[in-house]
């Protein structure tokens, strides 16, 4: 009977899979028992971070430097890719087995601090260190990392944006690249002369496309949070002006045109080579300082310059939005002291002239003059003068950090939702802001009803 033959086959297959499993188990015996530690007799400081690809290599290099700089601790880094980072961090913290120190850049700090998930750095800092942080670091850092008056994070350099522009485009359009506009109105006029359309009226090149409501609100004198009162300031006259500016600018070019043009180009998440600025799709674009390194790598001969985004009449100079990568010590860290040593080492709280080098490796902006004026940093600036713009910005008191409210992620998401509606021409800016304010008020009311502090 046919089944008899099939049966033998099955038995053979089971045998085969059993052998396969045994082989796999045998292979698993080849595992090293745990990560190979370079310094097995030292106290391990487990460090979880979210950097991948080339940044992961940088982080590992810094950890290695730290390990070689002293003989007590060994920092053991682990890259936790961002898509799973929040879950892994949170589960580890609640499970009582967190890393000793970690890096974050998501808007989690106020929420985590509010819920007691973080160790306040105030407990680890000596008075001298605290004084240095308060006195020396740039204003935006004094604010970032603080929640309800306590410091929970050491920021590692802000992510801010400035204008990158192409002098060759300027010259061809009869504009002087040495005199970048000092006010937004002039910039808009210049941009008009830099736009290019093809025969069918489709955009071929955008002279300048103002981007991000969060960036423009401070520039127009607005913002999202009042430091003195602790109140959110969402639907304010300067914010309305900022969002209206962004929407009107696109209306003039045609909403559909702009969407098509910008979505056709790799966006701000694109890596280096496909950055549209390189191909000349923009004459002026807004981006972060990390592009400088990429320009050197991918387009070493391209002539470009940087300048701060100019404010409108009555606006604020050197203003903008700054998020930061941060180093945190979670609650339950088994080696808070070791963690703090590492944070000091990396951030430059200790020997800033040495840490300046780490900032260069990662393309991070300095957090204090002591780093910016370190010899290595200065010689780098000599070679990359475009970085000066960013240094000027980093030190600016007009930079705005994300509001330190426990529902920050919700707030930030809804701000960009309102922006999305306005700049795509779906909803008038005033209405988008009214909607934003209503959404946030409703969420706060709900939170209050549930018994949250805020």
């Amino acid at each position: 009977m046919a089944t008899e033959r099939d049966n033998r086959l099955t038995r053979r297959e089971i045998l085969a899979s059993g052998l396969g499993m045994a082989a796999a188990l045998g292979l698993s015996g080849c595992w090293s028992d745990g990560a190979r530690r370079a310094y097995p007799d030292r106290i391990p400081v487990r460090f979880w971070h979210m950097w991948t690809a080339e940044w992961q290599a940088v982080v590992e290099r810094i950890a290695d430097r730290f390990n070689r700089s002293q003989a007590r601790y060994e920092v053991v880094p682990l890259s936790v890719p961002a898509s799973g980072a929040d879950a892994k961090y949170l589960l580890a913290i609640t499970g009582g087995d967190p890393p000793d120190v970690m890096a974050q850049w998501n808007p989690v700090l106020p929420t985590w601090a509010e819920n007691g998930a973080l160790t306040s750095l105030d407990e680890l800092m000596t008075p001298a260190e605290r004084a240095w942080t308060e006195r020396e670091t740039y204003p935006v850092f004094r604010r970032a990392g603080i929640f309800r008056g306590r410091r929970y994070a050491m920021p590692l350099g802000p992510n801010i944006s400035a204008c990158f522009y192409r002098p060759d485009h300027f010259r061809k359009a009869g504009l002087d690249p040495d005199r970048f506009p000092e006010d937004l109105e002039t910039l808009v006029q210049w941009a008009d002369r830099l736009h290019q359309f093809d025969r069918s009226g489709q955009l071929k090149r955008i002279g300048f496309l103002p981007q991000y409501f969060t960036q423009f609100a401070p520039l127009f004198g607005g913002g999202f949070y009042d430091e003195r009162t602790g109140a959110l300031t969402l639907n304010t006259p300067p914010n309305r002006r900022a969002l209206t500016f962004l929407a009107d600018y696109r209306r003039k070019l045609g909403f559909g045109n702009v969407i098509r043009f910008t979505s056709g180009l790799a966006g701000d998440t694109s890596g280096g080579v496909d950055w549209p600025f390189l191909s000349g799709a923009y004459s002026i674009t807004q981006d972060g300082q990390w592009r400088i390194e990429q320009l050197e790598k991918f387009a070493p001969h391209l002539e470009y310059r940087t300048a701060p985004l100019p404010p409108p009449a009555g606006g604020r100079r050197l203003a903008g939005w700054a998020t930061s990568d941060m180093l945190l010590v979670p609650r339950g860290s088994r080696q808070p002291q070791g963690a703090w040593e590492f944070i000091k080492f990396w951030s430059g709280l200790e020997r800033p002239e040495r840490a300046a080098e780490f900032y260069l490796w990662g393309g991070w902006l300095p957090i204090a003059d002591a780093i910016a004026y370190a010899p290595v940093y200065q010689s780098y600036i000599q070679k990359h003068p475009a970085l000066r713009t960013f240094l000027e910005l980093a030190a600016s008191p007009n930079l705005v950090a994300p509001p330190p409210v426990p529902f920050q992620a919700y707030l930030v998401d809804h701000i960009s939702r309102a922006e999305d509606l306005a700049v795509r021409g779906t909803r008038p800016p005033e209405q988008a802001l009214v909607g934003l304010e209503a959404d946030i008020a409703k969420e706060r009311a709900r939170r209050k009803e549930l018994g949250y502090a805020d």
Partner: protein, 290 residues
């Protein structure tokens, strides 16, 4: 068009089928061709395609010139590929064995045996698929921690031995299409249910079992979240974790990501190509009909 294998096809029909299959292959393959072609390009070539107002697609733009083989060793060096491969294969072997065997047994119970509360239990089992893992993640994590399994492979392997509802449902559907006469005859001869399962049902359901094995293999191969959550030792991660290392928060390099994705995919393509015969060896060809 002849439906099902025993029928001979005319030459014209064969041509027609080839034409249809080839036509459909193009859109299926094109993205993959691009993936491989990007993995062999230099950054500058990727950039050339990225220029604004790109021209209509031409075949030549898909051909890397010059061919940048270096992307592969570079990608291999960026992560401990062999160690991750070993870990992944180990997890795959264990979970495939566990999930397929246990699911087959459970499915037999649901498909072929009668007992009280069967229908309710079956629905309950399917319902466990309907609750998103995102909300059960915390209690599940707490459970594994309490068991002392955190940081080991146990949370990733042991549950497989309790049957996977997806496979149980699938196999149940298959078992229920099998003709009942064979089993009935064996039962009359005094065979136990276990014997019937082992000797009759299991051999007859090989295509379905192979499908489950393949799915489980793929599931474990692609699982990024499980290992990320439960493993803390960098040396014990899997390929899916390694692949994530190429996805940078600022885009990273496409050439490396695509080389990584290709390396990640090729072993399964090979595996599938050599095992897909199993899907052909259905009972349609073993000729069970008496």
């Amino acid at each position: 068009m002849p439906i099902s294998p025993p029928f001979r096809l005319s030459r014209f029909q064969r041509l027609l089928i080839h034409a249809a299959l080839i036509a459909l292959s193009v859109p299926v393959l094109l993205p993959l061709v691009w993936m491989i072609s990007t993995s062999l390009k230099t950054d500058a070539q990727v950039y050339a395609v990225g220029a604004q107002s790109a021209p209509p697609l031409t075949l030549s733009s898909l051909v890397p010139h010059p061919v940048q083989w270096r992307n592969y060793p570079d990608a291999l060096r960026a992560v401990p590929f062999l160690a991750y491969l070993r870990n992944t294969l180990f997890l795959c072997a264990v979970t495939v064995l566990g999930a397929v065997l246990s699911s087959a047994i459970v499915a037999y119970g649901f498909a072929r045996l009668e007992f009280k509360g069967k229908n309710a239990l079956f629905l309950l089992m399917i319902s466990t698929l309907a609750l998103p893992a995102q909300v059960t993640m915390i209690p599940v994590f707490a459970l594994f921690r309490a068991l002392g399994w955190y940081g080991t492979y146990l949370p990733l392997t042991v549950p497989a031995f309790c049957g996977a509802p997806f496979f149980i449902f699938l196999l149940t559907q298959f078992y229920r299409t099998l003709p009942g006469e064979l089993a009935e005859a064996a039962r009359v001869d005094g065979a136990s249910e276990w014997t019937i399962f082992r000797r009759i049902i299991l051999p007859l359901s090989k295509p379905a079992l192979a499908t489950c094995a393949l799915f489980q293999f793929l599931g474990t191969w692609n699982d990024f979240f499980g290992p990320l959550l439960y493993i803390n030792d960098p040396a014990q991660y899997t390929l899916a974790y390694g692949l994530q290392q190429f996805v940078s928060n600022r885009g990273g390099q496409w050439t490396h990501l695509m080389a990584g994705a290709t390396l990640f995919t090729v072993p399964i393509i090979v595996l599938f190509f050599f095992t897909q015969r199993t899907f052909i060896q259905g009972i349609a060809t073993t000729g069970v009909k008496n």
